[in-house]
Symmetry: C2
């Protein structure tokens, strides 16, 4: 079938990765080195690498080089497990970094969802989350401070679901989820240290309390290769 050069090169690396000759997380040779070995120009080498990136087998860190993608974590929103818990359970090491936090006036959309006046204060929280030292997820969220007074004074790098349970006797229940496969917006790409325009997974999540009030509105931007979504629907 296709005997294009980039296609053969993809096959070459795919095999090395599947056989674990190239181990998860390890660095590929430089583009020039690969080109020399296969007598190809960098343009062709890069096409192959970019296709493998779209496939999720390799990824790049800004100007550092190409690396073999580690296994994806399985994210099951309906399990109500926190990021820290499900990442740990699957044998990875989670880490969370707070990039920004501020009280700000709710925009029309958020205000309507939370049933509060427009411009009423909400807590905006911006976090970066890691799996095994690799930044995989940018989170931007709006938290209903009326239901969670004083939450802005807590340590907001911790699991919010734990915090809600321990300090407010509240738990996540119902959720509305929207998934869209699209490229990362440049702000999120910058935060993840990758070049803009890379494929990504965008999730919008609305969390409700048991009595149907909106606790939190969440925007998540995942590296597309870092996560698999798993949902069980039981009526």
């Amino acid at each position: 079938m296709s005997t294009h050069h980039y296609y053969q090169l993809q096959g070459y690396f795919r095999e090395l990765i599947e056989l674990k000759t190239l181990k998860s997380g390890s660095k590929l040779p430089s583009e020039r080195e690969i080109g020399e070995q296969f007598k190809l120009t960098r343009v062709t080498v890069r096409q192959a690498l970019q296709n493998l990136e779209a496939e999720g087998l390799i990824y790049r860190q800004n100007r550092k080089g190409w690396f073999v993608t580690p296994p994806a974590v399985v994210y099951n929103p309906s399990s109500h497990l926190s990021f820290n818990l499900y990442v740990t359970e699957q044998g990875f090491v989670p880490h969370t970094e707070k990039l920004m936090q501020q009280i700000e006036p709710a925009n029309a959309y958020i205000a309507q969802l939370m049933n509060i006046p427009e411009h009423a204060p909400v807590l905006y929280l911006h976090r970066r989350r890691y799996i095994n030292q690799r930044p995989v997820l940018i989170e931007k969220m709006y938290i209903n401070t009326r239901l969670l007074p004083g939450i802005e004074k807590e340590d907001l790098t911790q699991s919010l679901s734990q915090l809600l349970k321990n300090n407010y006797q509240r738990e996540y229940r119902d959720m509305d989820l929207v998934f869209k496969s699209t490229s990362l917006p440049s702000s999120a790409a910058d935060d993840l240290g990758i070049s803009a325009g890379q494929p990504g997974l965008h999730i919008e999540r609305i969390n409700y309390t048991a009595d149907k009030q909106v606790l939190e509105v969440d925007y998540e931007f995942w590296r597309h290769d870092a996560v698999t979504i798993n949902i069980a629907i039981r009526d």
Copy 2:
């Protein structure tokens, strides 16, 4: 921020598309023409176009050119609506084509799920689905013929959920869903008439009957720009 040539070109087309100067489904000028207009080489023009493709704003059809992406359809698996229904409801025109159909022996995975002996016959069905004449989805499914005897003699371009309801008094109930953002496998890309390696959305779905038997195992490959997933989780 970035003043790279491809970046500016992306901004140019993004604006035309957002202002609807370039309407949904319309064709962009040829790559050479764009290059001439902006004094750029084709390599640079193509980088901009490929980024816009990752963003989901434009798409290409094999060797035919670049087109403005129509709005995505919203797919809500928990609503149990058939493809034909939800596509129609959202103002689009659905169409289904049967590519292949055959009775074949179940592999180990399918057999275990369906609780039937390995190599027992199952119905394999391979379909292509369109929205407004545009092929957006490849479906490969394994159907439990024990629960649905004679189904292979029906018209299998129609909605399976309708067929189940009308002829077998069965309905889809519980489902297990797995989503993964990855590039399209070359077989699916060929079926969709796009070049391999394009980003895509892969869905695996297991459909259960009310009494927890596996009716059907479904593998779906979507154009990544054609669909938004929407799920409500209610415990």
